[in-house]
């Protein structure tokens, strides 16, 4: 189900995860833990590493055979997949920081989000889309960095002429990213089940969100630098922007049902639950079930509940105390607040900050 996220759990043994960004404001990031040092593969350890990597792909038991194959494509692949999963979680936690379910992850479980994704809910739709998007994004980035040797070079148009790189160049990295994401993430989904159908749709929507936010840049290099000859390319968007797009789509997600058509072949399609709602297109998120109650803790599903969450007293939105605390009320505590302020950033690596102390009200849900 959320297999790309599951990969995160064993990454401590593999010891090749990327370092974790420092800015994770989210409380429930225990599972991400272990900000490992950046991997240094020197020549001597390369062989050991390769076998380790082969093993590690096999050790990820929840991967289906195709995924194991894809994982074993290169020694860098595990890292890249893990990086993708990690970024997806990070982004999810950012986007849901104000919601009742804040994309919390669970320790000691292969299901990183607990059982939340067992529901075919909006949240599940979002997580699937984001995972697929993040994987495509990370793979494309690795291709651009030249870390992955496998990245494909399919020249788009030419089929009959030789497809050398030297003849006609290569396609954009995102193409391979999408292809890989489609191969890897979609491998586990079964088209015959309702859930599989929904996930496949959402995965594709996620990948399209990456594609949709790509920015076109052009460079003129004709005679005397004029625009008589121009070359254009597209930049990968920041994953945060993709998260924003998907977050909007999450809010406007369509509640659908599976319709079977018995015309010759058995075609199963997703159609809106209410006939008067417009058909979701390929970039929209779809869900089949309503979300579970995220207010109360539920160990079985891995829902932590909103007890103890900090809320915003003045907000009328989801992060406001009324909604976030599910009507249970909140406590206000005065806390010493320490904050970095008046920072001066010195490229590359130093930030000179002062620490400002203040007393602030802190509202915590009951």
């Amino acid at each position: 189900m959320d297999d790309i996220n599951k990969i995160l759990s064993p990454h401590k043994q593999v010891e090749c995860a990327s370092p974790m960004p420092q800015s994770l404001h989210v409380r429930h990031s225990r599972n991400l833990a272990a900000p490992n040092r950046p991997i240094q593969s020197s020549n001597t350890s390369l062989e050991i590493f390769t076998t380790l990597h082969k093993e590690s792909c096999h050790r990820l038991e929840y991967l289906v055979e195709r995924q194991k194959q894809l994982c074993m494509l290169s020694d860098k692949m595990v890292q890249v997949i893990q990086m993708g999963a990690q970024q997806a979680i990070e982004e999810c936690q950012h986007q849901f920081r104000n919601s009742r379910w804040n994309c919390s992850t669970v320790d000691n479980s292969t299901d990183i989000f607990g059982g939340v994704l067992k529901f075919k809910s909006r949240e599940s739709a979002f997580v699937h889309a984001l995972s697929a998007a993040a994987l495509a994004h990370t793979v494309a980035r690795s291709c651009s960095r030249g870390e992955l040797n496998e990245c494909s070079c399919d020249a788009r148009v030419r089929k009959r002429t030789p497809r050398h790189w030297q003849w006609g160049g290569c396609s954009e990295d995102i193409r391979y990213g999408e292809k890989y994401s489609r191969d890897f993430v979609d491998a586990k989904e079964d088209k015959e089940t309702d859930e599989g159908l929904m996930n496949l749709h959402n995965n594709e929507a996620g990948r399209r969100a990456v594609r949709g936010r790509m920015q076109r840049v052009c460079k003129c290099h004709g005679m005397s630098g004029s625009c008589s000859v121009r070359v254009c390319w597209r930049r990968l968007p920041q994953l945060r922007l993709v998260g924003d797009v998907l977050s909007t789509r999450y809010e406007g997600a369509s509640h659908v049902k599976v319709v079977e058509r018995k015309k010759g072949k058995n075609i199963r399609k997703l159609r809106p639950l209410h006939p008067d709602i417009k058909k979701p297109n390929k970039t929209d998120l779809v869900y089949l079930e309503d979300s579970p109650d995220y207010c109360e803790p539920n160990d079985e599903l891995g829902i932590l509940g909103t007890k103890g969450r900090t809320c915003n007293r003045t907000s009328a939105g989801l992060d406001g105390c009324r909604l976030l605390c599910c009507g249970r009320g909140y406590q206000t505590r005065v806390r010493d607040h320490e904050e970095k302020c008046r920072c001066r950033f010195v490229w590359c690596c130093r930030v000179h900050c002062e620490i400002c102390r203040s007393k602030r009200d802190h509202h915590v849900c009951n």
Binding site: V157, C170, K219, S224
Partner: protein
Amino acid sequence: MAGTIIENLSGRKLTILVTFLLLCQIVCFLIGGLVAPVPANAQIILGTVCKDTSIMKNDTTKWFYNRGAGICEKVDLHRIHHDVSERDIVFAFQMPVPRESETYDYSRWQQNLIGVLQVDIRYHSQMEVAPRSALSIDARLAYRNKGDPDNAWKLYTQSVEKRVLDCDIDIKSENYLYNCSAVPLFELGSLYHDYYLLNLRLPVDTPDMNAHIGHIQDMWVTVINQNGGFTKVWLSLKTVFFPCIIAILVWFWRRIHILERKPVLLEKMLLSLGIALCFLNAPIEYLTLHFDLPFMLLLGDIRQGVFYAMLFSFWLVFAGEHMLIQDTSAQSSLKQYWRHLSAVAMGCISLFIFDMCERGVQLRNPFYSIWVTDLGTNLALTFIILAGISTGVYFLFLCYMIWKVFLNISQKRQSLPTMSSVRRLRYEGIIYRFMFMMLATLLCAALTVIGFILGQVAEGQWKWDDNIELEYTSAFFTGVYGMWNIYIFSLLVLYAPSHKRWPANENTSDTQNLNLSEEHEFSPLPTERSEISSLTSFIRKATVD
């Protein structure tokens, strides 16, 4: 009375010729569209952040790269490191990037390499980036060839450069990235070596240097090279056209030499146009496959410039020579056109100076750009605006002259009915063919412009899944290139002096019908003039009255 070939060519022959040329044109277009790949390829490389632990930072034998033996120690800029100083950070770009599990190398067919830098700057509310802050870059470019060991990078060039970052941001929120425009980084006129490595550092030698550029998260370099396939197709076209133009020129020159008279201005102009085309067509790119010739970009510009200058001048003289206002006795010379031609010269010289300031200096320092300093920008803009103004003035002149020619021709048309029927038919034919040539010129120009606009529009609507088999951009380039070649070929052929003799006027039955005034009109024309284009002579005759 002999004229040019176009006047003596029968309608059937002309149709055959035009059809043949059109076929050639279509072939040129299709070769570009079906065989050639897109003209240029862009490869986007994400910089690997390396840690330089050495004490001496200006050691140009120490290189940082992320593939092969001896790769560098990587740093993650997402988090803040306390053990790393800004001097230790190196952005490494190793090109080309591998694909399909193969290590790719550049081929000399790929001709040139242009680098564009894009910087991802993270927003922090505590330190906003000013809209036009300067980025100082210590850029070093190294090369390596096939068979060299992985660490055998040799310095190609090195420079400390300044670039202006043009950044803005839509959502001012932590961790969002600024939208920074792409800045040109380097231009290599020759792609002689197999692998290149770019190491970028952001020095902080003075307190103000690189102090206001914010938190750089990533650096992207897009390297653009001409596609090998496109070069091959392009060079094949040149290889075909070059002998053709040489042969036609030789033939044209011999034709003129056979005549008893000296060549007239129009013929001289045609000859120079042919020579300019020779210069453009010469496939000297073959030399780049064996020699390192960094001046090829500049030379290409000069070759195109010379050709355009000649073409523009030719049009002016062509229109002027059919103007009917010159003194009939004076042999026309270039001096008469100095005012008009000075517009062409002015435009060409300003563009040449601009090009020398940009690509000329880049021969010495590939990282140089005229656009980064305010003075340079103003200077460059001055020259470009001057060139623009000259072009405008030129076209005004040209349009005015063509308008006058048409005016005169329509005037003379009115006097046609008073002439004898044979002569009338002949003159009508000449005017028709002159119009035909004008039409061809206009058609070529219009097709070029339309093709260019179509290309821009088609590119504007970026499609992801385009299964179009025709590679439009390449087809446009080969099509336009072929078209102007064919245009000049046909000019040279059709405007060469003809051997054919007009049937003597006396033989025609209605010669006797010529009235006296007409006889009188024709008598003062000197005999040697009979060899000039009969159209011109006709027009001159007309001016006499």
